[in-house]
Amino acid sequence: MVLLRSTILRSFSADLWRGVLVNFRGVDPWVEMISSPIWVLGLVLAIASQNPSILRDPITVKDICWSIVVFSMISDKLWIVGHMLDREKRSGVLENILVSNIPLSIHTLSPIIVSMLWSLASLGIILITVFPILGVNPAPIDPVLTAIGYILSDIVAAGIAMLYAPAVIKLRRPWIFTTFFQFTLPLISGIIPQSYVPPEIRGVIALNPLSYPVEILRRGATGSSYIDVQIGEAFMISIAGIAILYMIGMLSLIIARRMIIKRGV
Protein backbone atom coordinates (compact mmCIF):
# COMPACT_ATOMS: atom_id res chain seq x y z
CA MET A 1 0.00 0.00 0.00
CA VAL A 2 2.84 2.38 0.88
CA LEU A 3 4.62 1.45 -2.34
CA LEU A 4 1.45 2.04 -4.36
CA ARG A 5 0.90 5.41 -2.71
CA SER A 6 4.47 6.53 -3.36
CA THR A 7 4.23 5.43 -7.02
CA ILE A 8 1.01 7.37 -7.46
CA LEU A 9 2.49 10.47 -5.80
CA ARG A 10 5.59 10.18 -7.93
CA SER A 11 3.52 9.81 -11.11
CA PHE A 12 1.34 12.75 -10.11
CA SER A 13 4.33 15.01 -9.50
CA ALA A 14 5.91 13.84 -12.76
CA ASP A 15 2.73 14.76 -14.64
CA LEU A 16 2.54 18.14 -12.89
CA TRP A 17 6.16 18.94 -13.72
CA ARG A 18 5.66 17.78 -17.31
CA GLY A 19 2.41 19.78 -17.65
CA VAL A 20 4.00 23.02 -16.48
CA LEU A 21 6.93 22.61 -18.87
CA VAL A 22 4.75 21.73 -21.87
CA ASN A 23 2.21 24.52 -21.29
CA PHE A 24 4.44 27.37 -20.17
CA ARG A 25 7.73 26.85 -21.98
CA GLY A 26 8.89 29.21 -24.69
CA VAL A 27 7.18 32.18 -26.30
CA ASP A 28 4.21 30.40 -27.89
CA PRO A 29 2.13 29.84 -24.72
CA TRP A 30 2.53 33.49 -23.70
CA VAL A 31 1.47 34.68 -27.14
CA GLU A 32 -1.60 32.44 -26.78
CA MET A 33 -2.26 33.90 -23.36
CA ILE A 34 -2.18 37.45 -24.73
CA SER A 35 -5.10 36.54 -26.98
CA SER A 36 -7.33 35.82 -23.93
CA PRO A 37 -7.97 39.46 -22.98
CA ILE A 38 -8.63 40.31 -26.63
CA TRP A 39 -11.33 37.62 -26.85
CA VAL A 40 -12.80 38.78 -23.52
CA LEU A 41 -12.91 42.41 -24.67
CA GLY A 42 -14.63 41.42 -27.90
CA LEU A 43 -17.26 39.33 -26.11
CA VAL A 44 -17.99 42.03 -23.53
CA LEU A 45 -18.44 44.68 -26.22
CA ALA A 46 -20.58 42.39 -28.38
CA ILE A 47 -22.82 41.69 -25.39
CA ALA A 48 -22.98 45.31 -24.29
CA SER A 49 -23.96 46.38 -27.81
CA GLN A 50 -27.46 45.05 -27.15
CA ASN A 51 -27.94 48.27 -25.23
CA PRO A 52 -24.84 50.46 -25.51
CA SER A 53 -25.98 52.78 -22.72
CA ILE A 54 -25.10 50.13 -20.15
CA LEU A 55 -21.43 50.81 -20.92
CA ARG A 56 -21.87 53.97 -18.87
CA ASP A 57 -22.77 51.86 -15.83
CA PRO A 58 -19.52 50.46 -14.37
CA ILE A 59 -21.35 48.01 -12.08
CA THR A 60 -23.15 46.34 -14.99
CA VAL A 61 -19.98 46.33 -17.07
CA LYS A 62 -18.10 44.73 -14.19
CA ASP A 63 -20.82 42.08 -13.95
CA ILE A 64 -20.53 41.35 -17.66
CA CYS A 65 -16.73 41.20 -17.42
CA TRP A 66 -16.81 38.65 -14.62
CA SER A 67 -19.42 36.63 -16.49
CA ILE A 68 -17.06 36.47 -19.44
CA VAL A 69 -14.17 35.58 -17.14
CA VAL A 70 -16.24 32.56 -16.05
CA PHE A 71 -16.99 31.81 -19.72
CA SER A 72 -13.26 31.96 -20.44
CA MET A 73 -12.48 29.68 -17.48
CA ILE A 74 -15.01 27.08 -18.68
CA SER A 75 -13.61 27.25 -22.23
CA ASP A 76 -10.06 26.72 -21.00
CA LYS A 77 -11.10 23.64 -19.04
CA LEU A 78 -13.12 22.13 -21.89
CA TRP A 79 -10.30 22.56 -24.39
CA ILE A 80 -7.26 21.90 -22.17
CA VAL A 81 -8.60 19.16 -19.85
CA GLY A 82 -11.45 17.89 -22.00
CA HIS A 83 -9.28 17.31 -25.05
CA MET A 84 -6.18 16.13 -23.20
CA LEU A 85 -6.68 12.42 -23.81
CA ASP A 86 -7.62 13.03 -27.44
CA ARG A 87 -4.44 15.07 -28.01
CA GLU A 88 -2.37 12.32 -26.43
CA LYS A 89 -4.09 9.68 -28.53
CA ARG A 90 -3.26 11.57 -31.72
CA SER A 91 0.37 12.10 -30.75
CA GLY A 92 0.87 8.47 -29.69
CA VAL A 93 1.51 9.40 -26.07
CA LEU A 94 -1.64 7.67 -24.81
CA GLU A 95 -0.29 4.24 -25.75
CA ASN A 96 2.83 4.92 -23.68
CA ILE A 97 0.70 6.08 -20.75
CA LEU A 98 -1.51 2.99 -20.92
CA VAL A 99 1.49 0.68 -20.97
CA SER A 100 2.80 2.18 -17.75
CA ASN A 101 0.89 1.40 -14.57
CA ILE A 102 -0.36 4.92 -13.91
CA PRO A 103 -4.16 5.13 -13.64
CA LEU A 104 -5.78 7.47 -16.19
CA SER A 105 -7.56 9.25 -13.35
CA ILE A 106 -4.23 10.26 -11.74
CA HIS A 107 -2.81 11.16 -15.14
CA THR A 108 -5.70 13.60 -15.68
CA LEU A 109 -5.42 15.31 -12.28
CA SER A 110 -2.22 17.23 -12.92
CA PRO A 111 -3.40 18.82 -16.21
CA ILE A 112 -6.33 20.12 -14.15
CA ILE A 113 -3.90 21.97 -11.94
CA VAL A 114 -1.91 23.19 -14.94
CA SER A 115 -5.06 24.48 -16.65
CA MET A 116 -6.00 26.29 -13.43
CA LEU A 117 -2.60 27.99 -13.44
CA TRP A 118 -3.20 28.91 -17.08
CA SER A 119 -6.63 30.41 -16.29
CA LEU A 120 -5.16 32.30 -13.34
CA ALA A 121 -2.42 33.81 -15.49
CA SER A 122 -5.03 34.80 -18.10
CA LEU A 123 -7.18 36.34 -15.37
CA GLY A 124 -4.26 38.45 -14.22
CA ILE A 125 -3.75 39.80 -17.74
CA ILE A 126 -7.48 40.43 -18.16
CA LEU A 127 -7.71 42.34 -14.88
CA ILE A 128 -4.91 44.72 -15.82
CA THR A 129 -5.99 45.25 -19.45
CA VAL A 130 -9.68 44.72 -20.21
CA PHE A 131 -11.12 46.17 -17.02
CA PRO A 132 -9.23 49.51 -17.26
CA ILE A 133 -9.99 49.78 -21.01
CA LEU A 134 -13.69 49.54 -20.18
CA GLY A 135 -13.35 52.03 -17.33
CA VAL A 136 -13.99 49.45 -14.62
CA ASN A 137 -12.14 49.08 -11.32
CA PRO A 138 -10.69 45.55 -11.33
CA ALA A 139 -10.43 45.36 -7.54
CA PRO A 140 -13.02 42.93 -6.13
CA ILE A 141 -15.35 44.08 -3.36
CA ASP A 142 -14.36 41.11 -1.17
CA PRO A 143 -11.01 39.69 -2.32
CA VAL A 144 -11.15 36.65 -0.03
CA LEU A 145 -14.63 35.63 -1.14
CA THR A 146 -13.63 36.27 -4.77
CA ALA A 147 -10.57 34.05 -4.42
CA ILE A 148 -12.59 31.26 -2.79
CA GLY A 149 -15.29 31.51 -5.44
CA TYR A 150 -12.75 31.58 -8.25
CA ILE A 151 -10.83 28.56 -7.02
CA LEU A 152 -13.99 26.54 -6.39
CA SER A 153 -15.41 27.49 -9.82
CA ASP A 154 -12.19 26.44 -11.48
CA ILE A 155 -12.16 23.10 -9.68
CA VAL A 156 -15.78 22.37 -10.58
CA ALA A 157 -15.29 23.42 -14.22
CA ALA A 158 -12.27 21.13 -14.39
CA GLY A 159 -14.32 18.30 -12.92
CA ILE A 160 -16.94 18.74 -15.63
CA ALA A 161 -14.18 18.70 -18.26
CA MET A 162 -12.76 15.53 -16.71
CA LEU A 163 -16.18 13.89 -17.16
CA TYR A 164 -16.19 15.03 -20.78
CA ALA A 165 -12.65 13.81 -21.62
CA PRO A 166 -13.47 10.12 -22.18
CA ALA A 167 -16.26 11.04 -24.60
CA VAL A 168 -13.93 13.23 -26.64
CA ILE A 169 -11.75 10.25 -27.59
CA LYS A 170 -14.71 8.46 -29.10
CA LEU A 171 -16.11 11.38 -31.09
CA ARG A 172 -15.14 11.89 -34.74
CA ARG A 173 -15.41 15.66 -34.61
CA PRO A 174 -15.15 16.55 -30.93
CA TRP A 175 -14.58 20.25 -31.69
CA ILE A 176 -18.28 20.52 -32.63
CA PHE A 177 -19.45 19.36 -29.21
CA THR A 178 -16.81 21.29 -27.31
CA THR A 179 -17.76 24.51 -29.10
CA PHE A 180 -21.43 23.83 -28.36
CA PHE A 181 -20.77 23.23 -24.65
CA GLN A 182 -18.45 26.22 -24.52
CA PHE A 183 -21.45 28.48 -25.23
CA THR A 184 -24.26 26.60 -23.54
CA LEU A 185 -22.63 25.51 -20.28
CA PRO A 186 -21.90 29.06 -19.09
CA LEU A 187 -25.54 30.01 -19.74
CA ILE A 188 -26.69 27.41 -17.21
CA SER A 189 -23.89 28.18 -14.75
CA GLY A 190 -25.22 31.42 -13.36
CA ILE A 191 -23.48 33.97 -15.57
CA ILE A 192 -26.73 35.79 -16.28
CA PRO A 193 -29.28 37.16 -13.80
CA GLN A 194 -31.88 34.52 -12.91
CA SER A 195 -34.68 37.08 -13.34
CA TYR A 196 -34.08 36.87 -17.08
CA VAL A 197 -34.11 33.09 -17.17
CA PRO A 198 -37.30 31.04 -17.77
CA PRO A 199 -38.40 28.93 -14.72
CA GLU A 200 -37.48 25.61 -16.39
CA ILE A 201 -33.93 26.77 -16.96
CA ARG A 202 -33.73 28.08 -13.41
CA GLY A 203 -34.23 24.51 -12.30
CA VAL A 204 -31.28 23.39 -14.45
CA ILE A 205 -29.14 26.21 -13.06
CA ALA A 206 -30.04 25.14 -9.52
CA LEU A 207 -28.95 21.58 -10.28
CA ASN A 208 -25.67 22.61 -11.91
CA PRO A 209 -22.84 22.32 -9.34
CA LEU A 210 -20.96 25.11 -11.14
CA SER A 211 -23.67 27.69 -10.42
CA TYR A 212 -22.84 27.91 -6.71
CA PRO A 213 -19.11 28.66 -6.77
CA VAL A 214 -19.82 31.13 -9.62
CA GLU A 215 -22.35 32.83 -7.33
CA ILE A 216 -19.72 33.04 -4.55
CA LEU A 217 -17.25 34.51 -7.06
CA ARG A 218 -19.76 37.08 -8.27
CA ARG A 219 -20.76 38.22 -4.80
CA GLY A 220 -17.11 38.64 -3.88
CA ALA A 221 -16.15 40.40 -7.10
CA THR A 222 -19.13 42.70 -7.74
CA GLY A 223 -21.51 42.30 -4.82
CA SER A 224 -24.29 41.22 -7.23
CA SER A 225 -26.48 38.26 -6.43
CA TYR A 226 -28.01 36.18 -9.23
CA ILE A 227 -29.06 33.06 -7.35
CA ASP A 228 -31.11 33.10 -4.19
CA VAL A 229 -28.77 31.18 -1.88
CA GLN A 230 -26.81 31.94 1.30
CA ILE A 231 -23.02 32.06 0.95
CA GLY A 232 -22.50 29.29 3.48
CA GLU A 233 -25.02 27.10 1.69
CA ALA A 234 -23.40 27.85 -1.67
CA PHE A 235 -20.03 26.88 -0.19
CA MET A 236 -21.32 23.54 1.17
CA ILE A 237 -23.05 22.72 -2.12
CA SER A 238 -19.84 23.58 -4.01
CA ILE A 239 -17.77 21.21 -1.85
CA ALA A 240 -20.35 18.45 -2.18
CA GLY A 241 -20.52 19.08 -5.93
CA ILE A 242 -16.74 18.78 -6.22
CA ALA A 243 -16.70 15.51 -4.28
CA ILE A 244 -19.46 13.97 -6.39
CA LEU A 245 -18.10 15.26 -9.70
CA TYR A 246 -14.61 13.97 -9.06
CA MET A 247 -15.79 10.60 -7.84
CA ILE A 248 -17.87 10.17 -10.97
CA GLY A 249 -15.02 11.56 -13.06
CA MET A 250 -12.49 9.08 -11.66
CA LEU A 251 -14.94 6.23 -12.17
CA SER A 252 -15.61 7.30 -15.75
CA LEU A 253 -11.88 7.32 -16.46
CA ILE A 254 -11.49 3.83 -15.02
CA ILE A 255 -14.31 2.67 -17.27
CA ALA A 256 -12.80 4.61 -20.19
CA ARG A 257 -9.49 2.82 -19.75
CA ARG A 258 -11.26 -0.55 -19.86
CA MET A 259 -13.17 0.47 -22.99
CA ILE A 260 -9.99 1.73 -24.68
CA ILE A 261 -8.20 -1.51 -23.93
CA LYS A 262 -11.14 -3.54 -25.19
CA ARG A 263 -11.51 -1.65 -28.46
CA GLY A 264 -8.00 -0.37 -29.02
CA VAL A 265 -6.46 3.10 -29.08
Partner: protein
Protein backbone atom coordinates in the same frame (compact mmCIF):
# COMPACT_ATOMS: atom_id res chain seq x y z
CA UNK B 1 -12.74 21.02 -59.90
CA UNK B 2 -16.40 20.06 -59.76
CA UNK B 3 -15.47 16.62 -58.43
CA UNK B 4 -13.23 18.17 -55.78
CA UNK B 5 -15.96 20.53 -54.58
CA UNK B 6 -18.45 17.68 -54.50
CA UNK B 7 -16.10 15.45 -52.55
CA UNK B 8 -15.26 18.32 -50.22
CA UNK B 9 -18.92 18.97 -49.47
CA UNK B 10 -19.96 15.31 -49.08
CA UNK B 11 -17.01 14.50 -46.85
CA UNK B 12 -17.43 17.60 -44.73
CA UNK B 13 -21.23 17.92 -44.76
CA UNK B 14 -21.35 17.30 -41.03
CA UNK B 15 -18.72 19.98 -40.47
CA UNK B 16 -20.63 22.44 -42.66
CA UNK B 17 -23.86 21.71 -40.79
CA UNK B 18 -22.07 22.03 -37.47
CA UNK B 19 -20.57 25.40 -38.39
CA UNK B 20 -24.02 26.70 -39.38
CA UNK B 21 -25.62 25.45 -36.16
CA UNK B 22 -22.76 26.69 -34.00
CA UNK B 23 -22.96 30.14 -35.57
CA UNK B 24 -26.60 30.29 -34.47
CA UNK B 25 -25.59 29.02 -31.02
CA UNK B 26 -23.01 31.81 -30.84
CA UNK B 27 -25.55 34.37 -32.07
CA UNK B 28 -28.04 33.09 -29.52
CA UNK B 29 -25.43 33.30 -26.76
CA UNK B 30 -24.72 36.96 -27.55
CA UNK B 31 -28.42 37.74 -27.83
CA UNK B 32 -29.37 35.99 -24.57
CA UNK B 33 -26.54 37.43 -22.49
CA UNK B 34 -26.93 40.83 -24.14
CA UNK B 35 -30.66 40.85 -23.42
CA UNK B 36 -30.13 39.66 -19.85
CA UNK B 37 -27.91 42.64 -19.09
CA UNK B 38 -29.19 45.24 -21.51
CA UNK B 39 -32.84 44.35 -22.00
CA UNK B 40 -34.35 42.86 -25.17
CA UNK B 41 -35.65 46.18 -26.45
CA UNK B 42 -32.26 47.89 -26.56
CA UNK B 43 -31.26 49.44 -29.83
CA UNK B 44 -28.07 48.03 -31.30
CA UNK B 45 -27.13 50.81 -33.55
CA UNK B 46 -27.49 54.52 -33.11
CA UNK B 47 -27.82 55.11 -36.81
CA UNK B 48 -29.97 52.31 -38.20
CA UNK B 49 -33.25 50.59 -37.41
CA UNK B 50 -32.55 46.92 -37.64
CA UNK B 51 -33.88 43.94 -35.74
CA UNK B 52 -31.28 43.05 -33.05
CA UNK B 53 -31.30 39.37 -33.93
CA UNK B 54 -30.78 40.10 -37.63
CA UNK B 55 -28.02 42.54 -36.69
CA UNK B 56 -26.32 39.84 -34.69
CA UNK B 57 -26.89 37.20 -37.39
CA UNK B 58 -25.08 39.37 -39.93
CA UNK B 59 -22.26 40.13 -37.50
CA UNK B 60 -21.83 36.55 -36.32
CA UNK B 61 -21.83 35.10 -39.81
CA UNK B 62 -19.24 37.62 -41.03
CA UNK B 63 -17.03 36.92 -38.01
CA UNK B 64 -17.36 33.13 -38.31
CA UNK B 65 -16.67 33.29 -42.04
CA UNK B 66 -13.62 35.52 -41.51
CA UNK B 67 -12.17 33.25 -38.85
CA UNK B 68 -12.74 30.18 -41.04
CA UNK B 69 -11.00 31.78 -44.02
CA UNK B 70 -8.15 33.06 -41.84
CA UNK B 71 -7.69 29.65 -40.29
CA UNK B 72 -7.76 27.75 -43.60
CA UNK B 73 -5.62 30.20 -45.60
CA UNK B 74 -3.42 31.14 -42.67
CA UNK B 75 -2.11 27.61 -42.24
CA UNK B 76 -1.94 26.79 -45.93
CA UNK B 77 1.68 27.67 -46.63
CA UNK B 78 2.99 26.51 -43.25
CA UNK B 79 1.27 23.13 -43.46
CA UNK B 80 2.43 22.79 -47.08
CA UNK B 81 6.02 23.35 -45.97
CA UNK B 82 5.72 20.82 -43.15
CA UNK B 83 4.13 18.17 -45.33
CA UNK B 84 6.49 18.72 -48.27
CA UNK B 85 3.59 19.69 -50.51
CA UNK B 86 4.99 23.17 -51.22
CA UNK B 87 8.16 21.79 -52.76
CA UNK B 88 6.08 19.47 -54.93
CA UNK B 89 3.94 22.45 -55.99
CA UNK B 90 6.96 24.60 -56.83
CA UNK B 91 8.39 21.77 -58.92
CA UNK B 92 5.14 21.25 -60.81
CA UNK B 93 4.27 23.10 -64.05
CA UNK B 94 1.27 24.75 -62.34
CA UNK B 95 1.95 28.22 -60.99
CA UNK B 96 1.57 28.84 -57.27
CA UNK B 97 -0.94 31.61 -57.92
CA UNK B 98 -3.12 29.19 -59.89
CA UNK B 99 -2.97 26.73 -57.02
CA UNK B 100 -3.92 29.42 -54.50
CA UNK B 101 -6.86 30.51 -56.64
CA UNK B 102 -8.03 26.93 -57.19
CA UNK B 103 -7.78 26.28 -53.44
CA UNK B 104 -9.72 29.45 -52.73
CA UNK B 105 -12.64 28.72 -55.06
CA UNK B 106 -14.15 25.76 -53.18
CA UNK B 107 -13.64 27.71 -49.94
CA UNK B 108 -15.51 30.66 -51.44
CA UNK B 109 -18.41 28.45 -52.50
CA UNK B 110 -18.35 26.83 -49.07
CA UNK B 111 -18.17 30.27 -47.41
CA UNK B 112 -21.07 31.66 -49.43
CA UNK B 113 -23.25 28.67 -48.51
CA UNK B 114 -22.40 29.06 -44.85
CA UNK B 115 -23.07 32.78 -44.98
CA UNK B 116 -26.47 32.30 -46.63
CA UNK B 117 -27.47 29.74 -44.01
CA UNK B 118 -26.17 31.71 -41.03
CA UNK B 119 -27.33 35.15 -42.10
CA UNK B 120 -30.72 33.81 -43.20
CA UNK B 121 -32.67 36.24 -40.97
CA UNK B 122 -30.97 39.20 -42.61
CA UNK B 123 -31.42 37.81 -46.14
CA UNK B 124 -35.06 37.09 -45.33
CA UNK B 125 -35.53 40.75 -44.33
CA UNK B 126 -33.87 41.89 -47.58
CA UNK B 127 -36.08 39.53 -49.56
CA UNK B 128 -39.35 40.39 -47.87
CA UNK B 129 -38.75 44.14 -47.60
CA UNK B 130 -37.11 44.89 -50.93
CA UNK B 131 -37.34 41.84 -53.11
CA UNK B 132 -35.04 39.37 -54.80
CA UNK B 133 -32.59 41.89 -56.25
CA UNK B 134 -31.67 43.26 -52.84
CA UNK B 135 -31.33 39.75 -51.48
CA UNK B 136 -29.00 38.85 -54.34
CA UNK B 137 -27.08 42.07 -53.77
CA UNK B 138 -26.51 41.11 -50.14
CA UNK B 139 -25.03 37.80 -51.26
CA UNK B 140 -22.90 39.57 -53.86
CA UNK B 141 -21.54 41.87 -51.14
CA UNK B 142 -20.26 38.90 -49.16
CA UNK B 143 -18.79 37.33 -52.30
CA UNK B 144 -16.83 40.53 -53.03
CA UNK B 145 -15.95 40.88 -49.35
CA UNK B 146 -14.37 37.43 -49.26
CA UNK B 147 -11.62 38.56 -51.61
CA UNK B 148 -9.90 40.88 -49.10
CA UNK B 149 -10.46 38.19 -46.44
CA UNK B 150 -8.55 35.69 -48.54
CA UNK B 151 -5.79 38.23 -49.06
CA UNK B 152 -5.68 38.79 -45.30
CA UNK B 153 -5.47 35.04 -44.80
CA UNK B 154 -2.65 34.84 -47.32
CA UNK B 155 -0.73 37.63 -45.55
CA UNK B 156 -1.17 35.76 -42.29
CA UNK B 157 0.05 32.61 -44.01
CA UNK B 158 3.27 34.33 -45.08
CA UNK B 159 3.80 35.62 -41.54
CA UNK B 160 3.29 32.16 -40.06
CA UNK B 161 5.67 30.63 -42.61
CA UNK B 162 8.33 33.24 -41.80
CA UNK B 163 7.91 32.79 -38.03
CA UNK B 164 7.90 29.01 -38.37
CA UNK B 165 5.05 28.64 -35.90
CA UNK B 166 1.25 28.92 -36.16
CA UNK B 167 1.02 30.58 -32.74
CA UNK B 168 -0.01 33.96 -34.15
CA UNK B 169 -3.09 32.37 -35.75
CA UNK B 170 -4.99 32.40 -32.46
CA UNK B 171 -3.83 35.91 -31.77
CA UNK B 172 -4.95 37.16 -35.19
CA UNK B 173 -8.31 35.40 -34.88
CA UNK B 174 -8.81 37.06 -31.48
CA UNK B 175 -7.96 40.38 -33.12
CA UNK B 176 -10.39 39.85 -36.01
CA UNK B 177 -13.11 38.71 -33.62
CA UNK B 178 -12.80 41.74 -31.37
CA UNK B 179 -12.01 44.45 -33.88
CA UNK B 180 -13.97 43.17 -36.88
CA UNK B 181 -16.46 46.01 -36.55
CA UNK B 182 -19.15 43.43 -37.33
CA UNK B 183 -20.32 42.47 -33.85
CA UNK B 184 -21.05 45.94 -32.49
CA UNK B 185 -21.20 49.56 -33.65
CA UNK B 186 -17.90 51.39 -33.80
CA UNK B 187 -19.11 54.02 -31.39
CA UNK B 188 -18.96 51.50 -28.53
CA UNK B 189 -15.17 51.25 -28.78
CA UNK B 190 -12.91 53.64 -26.90
CA UNK B 191 -11.80 56.36 -29.33
CA UNK B 192 -8.21 55.21 -29.59
CA UNK B 193 -9.23 51.73 -30.66
CA UNK B 194 -11.74 52.82 -33.35
CA UNK B 195 -9.00 52.95 -36.00
CA UNK B 196 -8.47 49.21 -35.77
CA UNK B 197 -11.79 48.05 -37.30
CA UNK B 198 -11.38 50.66 -40.03
CA UNK B 199 -8.30 48.78 -41.26
CA UNK B 200 -10.15 45.46 -41.59
CA UNK B 201 -12.39 44.39 -44.51
CA UNK B 202 -14.93 42.87 -42.08
CA UNK B 203 -16.07 46.31 -41.00
CA UNK B 204 -16.87 47.34 -44.57
CA UNK B 205 -18.64 44.06 -45.34
CA UNK B 206 -20.83 44.49 -42.25
CA UNK B 207 -21.53 48.16 -43.00
CA UNK B 208 -22.45 47.41 -46.62
CA UNK B 209 -24.80 44.61 -45.61
CA UNK B 210 -26.49 46.45 -42.79
CA UNK B 211 -26.78 49.60 -44.86
CA UNK B 212 -28.50 47.56 -47.54
CA UNK B 213 -31.15 45.94 -45.35
CA UNK B 214 -31.83 48.82 -42.99
CA UNK B 215 -32.32 51.53 -45.58
CA UNK B 216 -35.70 53.28 -45.49
CA UNK B 217 -35.57 53.88 -49.22
CA UNK B 218 -37.02 51.26 -51.54
CA UNK B 219 -34.67 52.07 -54.37
CA UNK B 220 -31.50 50.08 -54.86
CA UNK B 221 -29.30 51.30 -52.06
CA UNK B 222 -25.57 51.14 -52.55
CA UNK B 223 -24.82 51.93 -48.93
CA UNK B 224 -21.28 50.92 -48.04
CA UNK B 225 -20.71 49.00 -51.31
CA UNK B 226 -18.41 51.64 -52.95
CA UNK B 227 -16.18 51.70 -49.83
CA UNK B 228 -16.11 47.90 -49.81
CA UNK B 229 -14.99 47.90 -53.45
CA UNK B 230 -12.20 50.37 -52.66
CA UNK B 231 -11.05 48.24 -49.71
CA UNK B 232 -11.18 45.13 -51.93
CA UNK B 233 -9.00 46.86 -54.53
CA UNK B 234 -6.58 48.08 -51.86
CA UNK B 235 -6.22 44.62 -50.29
CA UNK B 236 -5.93 43.05 -53.72
CA UNK B 237 -3.06 45.40 -54.64
CA UNK B 238 -1.22 44.79 -51.35
CA UNK B 239 -1.79 41.08 -51.78
CA UNK B 240 -0.38 40.93 -55.32
CA UNK B 241 2.73 42.96 -54.38
CA UNK B 242 3.44 40.74 -51.40
CA UNK B 243 2.68 37.60 -53.41
CA UNK B 244 5.29 38.56 -56.02
CA UNK B 245 7.90 39.14 -53.30
CA UNK B 246 6.92 35.97 -51.51
CA UNK B 247 7.04 33.71 -54.57
CA UNK B 248 10.54 35.08 -55.39
CA UNK B 249 11.76 34.41 -51.86
CA UNK B 250 10.18 30.95 -51.61
CA UNK B 251 11.94 29.82 -54.76
CA UNK B 252 15.16 30.89 -53.06
CA UNK B 253 14.71 28.01 -50.63
CA UNK B 254 12.00 26.27 -48.65
CA UNK B 255 12.97 25.72 -45.04
CA UNK B 256 11.08 23.00 -43.12
Amino acid sequence: MEAEVKEFIVRDLWSITAIIILTYVFTGFLYIVGSAFGGSSGSLSTSSNIDPFAYRAVGSSIVVLSMMILSAMGQYIYSSILSGRLEALLASPISLSAVLVVTAIPMMIFGLSIFMATAAPAIYIALSKYGVITAIESIAIIAIGMIPLFVLGFLLSIAIAKLGSPVILNLSQAFIFTFSGALYPLIILPELLRLLPLSLPTYYIAEALRGLISSESQSLALGGVPRLLIVTLAYGSIGSILYRRFSRSIRGGVAA
